[in-house]
Each structure stands twice: as structure tokens, then as C-alpha cells.
């Protein structure tokens, strides 16, 4: 595939160090000449909404390779309100959105890449990535990290909002509290209710920035992983067609 005029190939003509440095991480001649795709995830051991995104990023990489592109995975993890809540850690919650968005922009443009896949599940990371996609003059698409499975009887972490108070007031035994605590989050993925995280996944899909049907797919299912792989193939197409979110999402 010819992509001689792309951002990444232009860089190779003006900065010879880049190829040498990338060969330090096993990029060979074929890799260097390919369309270069950033896969930026919010993977980390930060919370279950992001802890599975490394595996999902691997799927997206396969998709990019299938379409003859060369992927590179970056990460900036996000924080969880559920864990930051009830102390002044919560002051960082909304404020973190801006700095994440800036980091995604820096990743996409400092190297630079020809197209980007952004991958996230939760309430600050999804808008941060959408903001970056709108800012970049670059083909980009979003992969939703999907939803957590439910606990018994559709139980979710929401049950602990009330249960903790009841326990503190002596209305709930420690054993009952433990039952809720240890069973409400049986897997990775965004919270099972339509809170901000799931809402933002839906917004991403509704804006046309995630593949149709991707939002809310359950984490660890092939239903979700297929979207990641397809996204890898799709971004290569989008680069070929110069499909830039800034241009196809109108301001009116």
C-alpha cells in the first residue's frame, strides 16, 4: 500500500532518528513503511472500567495488521469516581478530563500518526477522547470498552451506596455488606447501570464515532472484542478515505 504522503511517512523524510529508534522495538522495514496507527487506551489497574483494555487493544492491533497498517499502543489511565468519592480525591475527577484529553492530543501529533483509535469505557475518559478526536485533524475512531456483567439479581456497585449507610447505622450485618461488596462487580467493564460512563459510550456511538452497536457490549465477550478488531480494520479504511471526525460531525 502506498502512503508516501501521509504524516508518518513525511516525518521519516525529515527525521532520520525516528526509524532508528523504532527499530529498537522491533519495527522492521515493512513496518516503517506502513500507515502508522495510534491505539490510545486508558488501560491500567485503576478500576474495572479500564483494566481489561490491554486485551481489547491487542484485538484492535490485530485488525490494524489485517488491513496492512502498523499499530502502536499508548496509554493514559483514568480514575474512577466510585473509588475517588467520599474524600478530596473527588476534586480531581472532572479536572482529569482535560489533562487526559491533552495527553491523547500529544500522543497523536508529537510522533505523528496517520490515524488514531481511542479506547475507553468511563465517564471522564470517553469525553476526553471525544474532545481530542474533535480537536485533531486526523481520521480517528472510538472503541467503547463495554459494560461490566451484573451480579446476582442484576446487582451493581450502586447497591453499595445505600448498603454502607445501613451497615454504619447497624441496619445491615457485616456478612450482608460483604455479600454485596464481593458480588456486585463480577467482571471488568463500565458500571452496569446507565450512569455517566454508559451514557457517554452511547453518545460516542450516536455521534458516529464508535462502530454501530459497540456501546454497552459486555466486556470479555467476543461480541465486544470483534468490535475492537473491526475498528482496527476500519481506521485503516478511514485513513485511506481521509475521513476526519472534525469534518463529518457538523457544528449545526
Amino acid at each position: 500500500m502506498s502512503c508516501g504522503s501521509s504524516r508518518s511517512q513525511q516525518l521519516r523524510k525529515v527525521n532520520y532518528q525516528g526509524d532508528g529508534l523504532r527499530s529498537g522495538m522491533q519495527w522492521d522495514d515493512d513496518d516503517l513503511g506502513k500507515m502508522q496507527i495510534l491505539i490510545d487506551t486508558v488501560h491500567g489497574d485503576s478500576h474495572p472500567g479500564s483494566s481489561h483494555l490491554d486485551g481489547l487493544a491487542d484485538e484492535a492491533k490485530i485488525g490494524v495488521y489485517q488491513a496492512q497498517g502498523k499499530p502502536a499502543v499508548y496509554a493514559v489511565t483514568d480514575i474512577c469516581d466510585g473509588i475517588a468519592m467520599a474524600h478530596d480525591g473527588m476534586n480531581y475527577s472532572l479536572a482529569s478530563r482535560e489533562i487526559m484529553s491533552f495527553m491523547f492530543e500529544i500522543h497523536a501529533l508529537a510522533s505523528p500518526y496517520d490515524g488514531s483509535i481511542f479506547m475507553s469505557s468511563c465517564d471522564k475518559s470517553v469525553p476526553a477522547q471525544l474532545m481530542t478526536m474533535m480537536r485533531l485533524d486526523m481520521p480517528a475512531l472510538h472503541v467503547c470498552g463495554g459494560s461490566m456483567l451484573s451480579g446476582p439479581h442484576y446487582m451493581s456497585s450502586e447497591v453499595l451506596y445505600g448498603a454502607g449507610d445501613k451497615y454504619a447505622q447497624g441496619e445491615l450485618s457485616e456478612q450482608e455488606l460483604m455479600y454485596y461488596s464481593r458480588n456486585c462487580c463480577p467482571s471488568a467493564g463500565a458500571c452496569q447501570f446507565i450512569g455517566t460512563a454508559s451514557t457517554m459510550q452511547c453518545m460516542s456511538e450516536a455521534l458516529g464515532l464508535a462502530l454501530p452497536g459497540n456501546a454497552l457490549a459486555a466486556a470479555y465477550t467476543t461480541h465486544l472484542t470483534r468490535y475492537a478488531r473491526r475498528a482496527g480494520r476500519q481506521i485503516v479504511e478511514n485513513v485511506k478515505n481521509s475521513l476526519v471526525p472534525r469534518n463529518f460531525i457538523s457544528s449545526r
Partner: protein, 392 residues
């Protein structure tokens, strides 16, 4: 060299395949390795941690030991602000000077110091003082042919610190829970000494300053240079200004032969706000070298340099041009003197002339208005204060 026909495509590809044989930070003593060494000198990483090559099993062992160490630190309540102090910053600056580290370290250590509420002025005084009193006892690529692996085998930072221990604050606390002095004494070296890479304090490679802070009417808030990378007969240089408002225009001028011996290339609007982000005038310096002008010209800027640059350069000029520093009013043909022994960067104009030119100076539009760079170019502080972002 490929472009000028000095090497062919095959040798170029061979070079490319050979130059990055593994992962890890760059194999020369640039800013990355300098910062790892300074972290160790600050007491914030385990002894020896800076220079173990990335692919050694010892590097993984070090990761494991670091995991153990952090748990011990939490148990003992020894937090980073007890380790990073004015005194441990002095140790880091000593190691910076003793090893001929990168000019960027000045910017980064000042930014760290700002978090500790240590003033920019105090840090500049520290660099000045310790650059005069610390001999350079380690010499690594780009200052010598020896690479980072050689530096590691020669004993790395523990050897450097043992050698200059008389100059260090040995009572400073470190992440081992022990003092700098105890760490230096306890360290077990794995390889024999190599005096070609790390010498002794009695026989230093150089007594002259590794890095130097300059001041003067062209840099009222300081500028930074690296005498260790400048030929000794270039330590005092006077020439005529050739002024460029960004890196690319200057590079084109160097390449098309319009820069002559005796010129001082001025590249401005490349500071924290102006650049924005203080780009490294890496290529401009390499082009001067390539055109055979490295020992006949100087380059001054409010931007930065790479740790690999050699030649007469002055960077981090503060205040920067975009903030209305005197650099903004320099014109082609103005006479400029760089005097490293005296610590001076001087523009041969009267104070009245400088004020008159500044009075009619107009701040150019920022190069970026959107995105992070638009944000950064509004909020970035002076290079003399570490170029940290701060509220307007």
C-alpha cells in the same frame, strides 16, 4: 550524510538496523540518561538504578527490589519530600557537573525545585556555585566514545558519588532508608574500575565548568550553556547577529550557505511561550557542524538544545522573546558577545537603544491558539523558572 552523498543507501540502512539494537533509553549521555542519573543522585531511586542496561536481568531484579523498597517506605513513613530537599538537589547538581550532563537538566531540576518552593534564583546560584567547584570525572558519549553500558560497568553513579563524596551532602536521606553516605559505602561493584570512563577526583577530565549560567543585558534572567561541549578557544566569542524568528528559517539559511564565519545565529520566539514548548535547536547545530561552521559561529536561542549537541551554543535565554525579553529586539548586524569565563551574554547596544527598541516592539500572535499548545503557550512560565505551567 546520506543526502550529501558521504554514505550510500546500503550503509545507511545498515546503520539504521544497528543503532537501536534493544529497547531502553538512548545509548548516549543525553537528557534521558542524565535525568535517571540525577534521580539516583537525589536519592529517589535505588543505588545503581540509573544505568543498568534495559535488557540485563539485573534491570528486572532492580524492578523487583524497587517494589519491595516502596512497601518498606510506606511502612516507615519516609515520604519523598523528606528525601528531595535543597541539600539533595545540591547532590544532584554535583553529579550533573561531575558527569557533564545535559543542559536540559537545569530546566528540569528547577521545575522540581519549584515544587519544593525553592526559588529560581536560589537554583541558578546553586548551578553557578557547583559548576565551579565540581570537577568533571566521568566522560561518556557524546563527550567521549564510551557508551552507557561502559559507564555502567565502570561503576555508574555509585562510583561517581563515591569519588566525589567529599563534595556531597552525605547525610541526605534516600529511598533505601539509609543516607547517601551509607549507600555509597554499602554498594557492591560488579566490574573492575575503568579510569577511561570514570576518573578520580585527583585526576579529573576537566576542571572547567560542565554547565554554565550566563547573565547580561541579553539574558537578564539567565541563559544556559555547556562549556564541556564547546572548544576552549570558543569560550569567548564575539560576532554579528543573524536573526531568525523560528528554527526552520534558520536551518534553511544555514543550509543555503548564507551563514558565514563570525556570525552569531539568533533563533528566537522558540521559548516556552513562543515556540511554544522550547523546541531543541538540534538540527540547526548539526547543520552548522555539517557546513564546517561549528568552530567559527555561535548559536543563541530562547529554545533548548539536545544533550548530544556540540559547538558554541547558548540556550534558555530568559525572558524569552515572546515575553518581550531583549532577545526580541536584536537586529541583523548587532554585535553580541558570549563570555563563558565571565558568565556574560552581552548585546553591544546602549540601555537607551534597547529600551527604545523595546518600546515599539509588538508581541506577535501566538503560533497555536487551539489545543494543548494554545493552552501551554499562554500558561508556560519562564525557562529560568523551569518552564512550568502556572496560573496567569
Amino acid at each position: 550524510m546520506l543526502k550529501s552523498g558521504k554514505i550510500d543507501e546500503t550503509s545507511y540502512e545498515q546503520l539504521e538496523e544497528l543503532c537501536g539494537p534493544t529497547c531502553g533509553s538512548c545509548a548516549f549521555y543525553g537528557t534521558a540518561n542524565t535525568m535517571c542519573c540525577l534521580t539516583e543522585a537525589l536519592g529517589m531511586s535505588l543505588p545503581g538504578a540509573a544505568l543498568v542496561p534495559a535488557v540485563y536481568a539485573d534491570r528486572l531484579r532492580l524492578g523487583e527490589e524497587t517494589g519491595t523498597a516502596i512497601v518498606a517506605l510506606v511502612n516507615s513513613g519516609l515520604s519523598a519530600e523528606k528525601i528531595m530537599t535543597y541539600q539533595s538537589l545540591e547532590n544532584a547538581v554535583c553529579v550533573l557537573m561531575a558527569t557533564g550532563g545535559s543542559t536540559n537538566a537545569v530546566l528540569h531540576l528547577s521545575a522540581v525545585a519549584a515544587e519544593l518552593d525553592i526559588s529560581a534564583e536560589a537554583m541558578m546560584a546553586m548551578y553557578d556555585r557547583l559548576s565551579q567547584s565540581t570537577p568533571q570525572i566521568a566522560k561518556v558519549n557524546p563527550a567521549a566514545k564510551y557508551d552507557m553500558e561502559d559507564f555502567y560497568r565502570a561503576g555508574g553513579i555509585p562510583r561517581v558519588m563515591r569519588e566525589i563524596s567529599a563534595l556531597l551532602n552525605r547525610e541526605c536521606c534516600t529511598v533505601t532508608g539509609k543516607t547517601v553516605g551509607q549507600n555509597i559505602g554499602d554498594y557492591k561493584f560488579k566490574y573492575p574500575r575503568d579510569y577511561r570512563v570514570i576518573s578520580t577526583i585527583d585526576k579529573p577530565f576537566s576542571e572547567q565548568k560542565g554547565l554554565a549560567i550566563l547573565r547580561g543585558n541579553l539574558a537578564p534572567d539567565t541563559a544556559v550553556t555547556k562549556p564541556a561541549a564547546i572548544a576552549i578557544d570558543m569560550h569567548v566569542f564575539t560576532g554579528k547577529a543573524r536573526v531568525f524568528d523560528c528554527e526552520e528559517i534558520a536551518e534553511a539559511a544555514i543550509l543555503n550557505g548564507s551563514i558565514k564565519a563570525g556570525d552569531v545565529v539568533v533563533i528566537r520566539y522558540e521559548g516556552p511561550k513562543g515556540g511554544p514548548g522550547m523546541r531543541e535547536m538540534y538540527k540547526a547545530m548539526k547543520y552548522l557542524y555539517g557546513m564546517g561552521l561549528a568552530k567559527k559561529t555561535a548559536l543563541i536561542t530562547d529554545g533548548r538544545f539536545s544533550g548530544t549537541n556540540n559547538g558554541c551554543f547558548v540556550g534558555h535565554i530568559s525572558p524569552e522573546a515572546a515575553e518581550g525579553g531583549p532577545l526580541a529586539i536584536v537586529q541583523d548586524g548587532d554585535k553580541i558577545t558570549i563570555d563563558i569565563p565571565k558568565g556574560v551574554l552581552h548585546l553591544h547596544l546602549s540601555d537607551q537603544e534597547i529600551s527604545a527598541r523595546l518600546a515599539i516592539w509588538q508581541r506577535p500572535e501566538p503560533k497555536f491558539k487551539r489545543g494543548y499548545l494554545g493552552f501551554y503557550s499562554q500558561l508556560a512560565g519562564s525557562a529560568a523558572k523551569g518552564a512550568v505551567i502556572k496560573p496567569v
